[in-house]
Amino acid sequence: MEKWRQSETVSRLLDAMLPVYATLAALGVGAVMLLLLGANPLEAFGALLEGAFGSTNALADTVVKATPLLLIGLGICISFRGNVINIGGEGQMIVGALTATALGLAFPESPGIVMIPLAMILGFLGGALWGGIPGALKAYFNVNEILSTIMMNAIAVQLMNFLLSGPMIDPIQAARDSQIPQTARLAAQFDLPRLIPTRLHLGALIAVVLAVAVYFLLWRTTLGYRIRAVGQNPHASRYAGIDVKRQIVFALLLSGAFAGLAGAVQVFGVNHRMITDGSATGFTGSAGFNGIVAALFGQLHPLGTIPASFLFGALLVGANKLQRVVQVPSAVIIALNGLVVVFVVSSEIFRRRREQKRLTDAMISQSEDGPPPDIPAPANVEGTP
């Protein structure tokens, strides 16, 4: 029995490492691509590691990159557990950033201690609005959320372009002939405090704290219980007297809110002003999509999403460094990220298979003669169909 426990913990540990193996495998394929491009893979991956973990600054950049992924990932944990697919992270992040920035620009004199929390809240609300709309459309008009959130992304971008080149434009730019579509820089006292003398800012801490909060929300509160119940079985939920439609709205609204907060954090912690190049990515860096990936890597578990976003943030930061060092086209990096995503998500099945095998083996080892009493089936193993 004791021996079995041991091997069990060991193999669980191996499972935890699976995404890492998968990433390595993907990088293996990437190595071939790099060779074909005439670059030295070792040098390249050395650069990747250095870029992601090589120095305090590198680590800080990695965490800074991971922060919006984590925040958005948390929202995704909520909505996906409510069986609502939110592809609208990009738009929600933008709107959250816009609302928070607008507030910051409106009261440049106010002290940071007042403004920062207010701005974060406003970003949260902005995102909530942009997520709540498709939520309501799904709940009350049966408009598929995948469609509406994709559309809402495009709308948010144009809204941003309009505001940054008009109502919210930097007065200095407004005066110029070439009116760069950016807001004025936010007052210095609004900058999120740095945790250490690097780009690492308070936002990272906020995100981690919120991860714990979301864990509580989902498994320790009535609201979380309802959202999960509706996500798993709307019929039974209705019989139990739960207002299904409202939970759907909440799920998307909360999901959007976290994306909105990510936007606010990005502006107040990193950019300190909003600028548009006409695309969503210019501001979000595709965090709206990468956040989904991070959350799913984290098995839709808020705490699992923390390391997942860190891994993904490291990859993104390290990849840019790689591009700089070996001077390969940036395109190869994007392709590489794609491979990593595919490999990691494909590795999931092995974890599941091993989970089941463990149970069966454990059972056989107990049943030399005759069948044993049922032993715990995997309780809430995520990802199992």
């Binding site: 219980y225 019929h235 039974a236 069966t360 069948p371």
Partner: protein, 518 residues
């Protein structure tokens, strides 16, 4: 050995099928352990066992849906390997699944044609298929409309579609996994006619059921599984209910204790001229009126698909009434939400427990608080009190002796009987004034059925007003104080138990109105 003849369905006979030492494990469960089983042409071999005994698993192994961990299958003496249903169908094996394998969004004909070669090559030949369906329906007395969508059919009709599907594929050996669980007495009789027809034609039939009288009625041999192991095979000749029951549960069973006349007091639930529509917008309930008093069980008998589902749903607030009134404890609750009704201490045991009663991905504990998750003591200011929840659940698991590894086990890995016990535990532990029980023992083994009946009577003694909606006439007769019969959405009559005879109720169920009862 007699040489094989060809069956009306076109396939040649399977004279003998043998399974040797079949073992099948699932994560955490040994579903079958070294099981031997066989069936011969021209016989019905019944397979008995409590919920979770491993019957369906054994049959799915035979049908190629599961690969056995150990063991061998022989057809007419030659070992065969069956990788997938493709192979078993080729071999002439057909299976009617306990949980129907129908595509609801397709028509009957389309479901039958699915996966079969078409006479028009790549194009569907639904006309020919329909014709063939009529032929088979003719031979075996199975009436269905080939052009109807499956979602439009009552369970009984869906059952027929399943059988036709198997026959259409020329099944010589037919596995019937709890086919009668969803049928009414009349339908069961028709179904047995069909089965006997098949046997005389030379089919080999495997018949799984929890209803012992059916087994004794139709089968030639009976085998009993318990906890995945084969307990024994005996000829039906000379076997008795109690003997089989005890083989199944491994202990003697008590009789339902004699019921003293219920002490009827004030009325709890009143329906006045309630009308309602089905999902398809057709009238499903027509001026339904009756009342249920505290401490009595009103049984609603009826052939499946006559409005029972809608009846339960309007009372529980899941379906709007088009006219009429519903009164609960003297207050008009027409059109109130399920939440409000629950507040008025109405409890509900839904017909489709897995769909409407339980959240199968949730843990046992989470499911046990489904109705009261937002009330003290489970929820304080929006936060769940896990301690209170697990204490509550622990208690219920004890009281209702639910077999579960732990409170954290997800419900989906429990057997049907235990899941129903959880539903009962949740609904009854609320000490409801009024209880709606829809098909509370469907698909349950005798052990579990006995248990449910016992609990329902207990509630009756406790003064609960119970509306028992069941298609199992024996059940109705055994438990009800009064019996209402529903036919095509109308209450044909309400008869006191002691004046009621099975024949009379049967007639009413068939829609033959009887003025005396009205």
């Amino acid at each position: 050995m007699t040489e094989k003849k060809t069956l009306p369905s076109g396939h040649s006979q399977i004279l003998q099928m043998e399974m040797h030492g079949i073992t099948k494990r699932f994560p955490g469960v040994v579903a079958n352990f070294k099981v031997d089983f066989d069936v011969r042409a021209g016989e019905v071999h019944a397979l008995l066992g409590e919920n979770g005994a491993g019957k369906s698993t054994l049959m799915k192994v035979l049908y190629g849906m599961y690969q056995p961990d150990e063991g061998q299958i022989k057809l007419d003496g030659t070992p065969v390997t069956i990788h997938s249903p493709v192979d078993s169908i080729k071999q002439g094996i057909g299976m009617i699944h306990q949980h129907f394998m129908l595509v609801e969004s397709l028509t009957v004909a389309e479901n039958v044609a699915l996966g079969m070669p078409s006479t028009r090559g790549p194009l569907t030949d639904l006309k020919k298929v329909s014709a063939r369906i009529y032929e088979l329906a003719e031979i075996y007395g199975l009436r269905v409309d080939p052009d109807a969508y499956v979602w439009q059919l009552a369970v009984g009709q869906q059952q027929r579609v399943e059988i036709i599907k198997a026959l259409y594929r020329g099944a010589a050996l037919l596995i019937l996994d709890e086919p009668t669980a969803v049928l009414t007495p009349q339908e069961v009789d028709e179904f047995f006619v069909t089965m006997r027809q098949m046997v005389t034609d030379g089919h080999a039939l495997i018949f799984i059921s929890h209803k012992l009288h059916e087994v004794l009625d139709i089968s030639n041999r009976v085998s009993v599984l318990r906890d995945g192991e084969m307990i024994g095979t005996i000829p039906t000749q000379g076997a008795t209910k109690t003997q089989l029951a005890e083989m199944m549960v491994g202990r003697p069973l008590g009789e339902i204790k004699i019921r003293q006349q219920s002490k009827t007091s004030q009325t709890r639930l009143v329906l006045q001229d309630v009308c309602s529509q089905s999902d398809r917008g057709t009238p499903a309930l027509k001026n339904v009126s009756f009342e249920v008093c505290a401490g009595e069980i009103l049984g609603v008998a009826g052939v499946s698909g006559n409005g029972q589902k809608e009846l339960a749903e309007v009372i529980t607030g899941m379906r709007p009434v088009t006219s009429g009134k519903i009164i609960l404890d003297t207050q008009d609750v027409t059109g109130k939400s399920p939440k409000v009704l629950m507040g008025r201490s109405l409890s509900y045991i839904p017909e489709e427990r897995m769909r409407d009663g339980m959240i199968k991905e949730f843990t046992v504990a989470e499911n046990l608080i489904l109705r009261e998750h937002d009330q003290m003591p489970f929820s304080r200011r929006g936060f769940l009190d896990l301690k209170a929840i697990s204490e509550h659940s622990e208690g219920l698991i004890q009281d209702y002796n639910v077999k579960t590894p732990s409170l954290e086990t997800t419900v989906k890995s429990l057997s049907g009987g235990n899941i129903q016990k959880l539903v009962l535990a949740r609904e009854i532990s609320r000490r409801p004034h009024t209880l709606i029980a829809a098909q509370p023992t469907r698909g349950l083994d005798i052990g579990a059925t006995e248990y449910v009946h016992h609990r329902l009577l207990e509630q009756r003694e406790a003064g609960t007003a119970t509306l028992l909606i069941s298609e199992d006439l024996d059940e109705i007769m055994a438990l009800s104080d009064r019996i209402a019969v529903i036919f095509e959405g109308e209450i044909m009559g309400v008869v006191p138990r002691d004046q009621a005879t099975a024949e009379q109720i049967g007639l009413l169920m068939a829609g033959v109105a009887e003025t005396a009862a009205k």
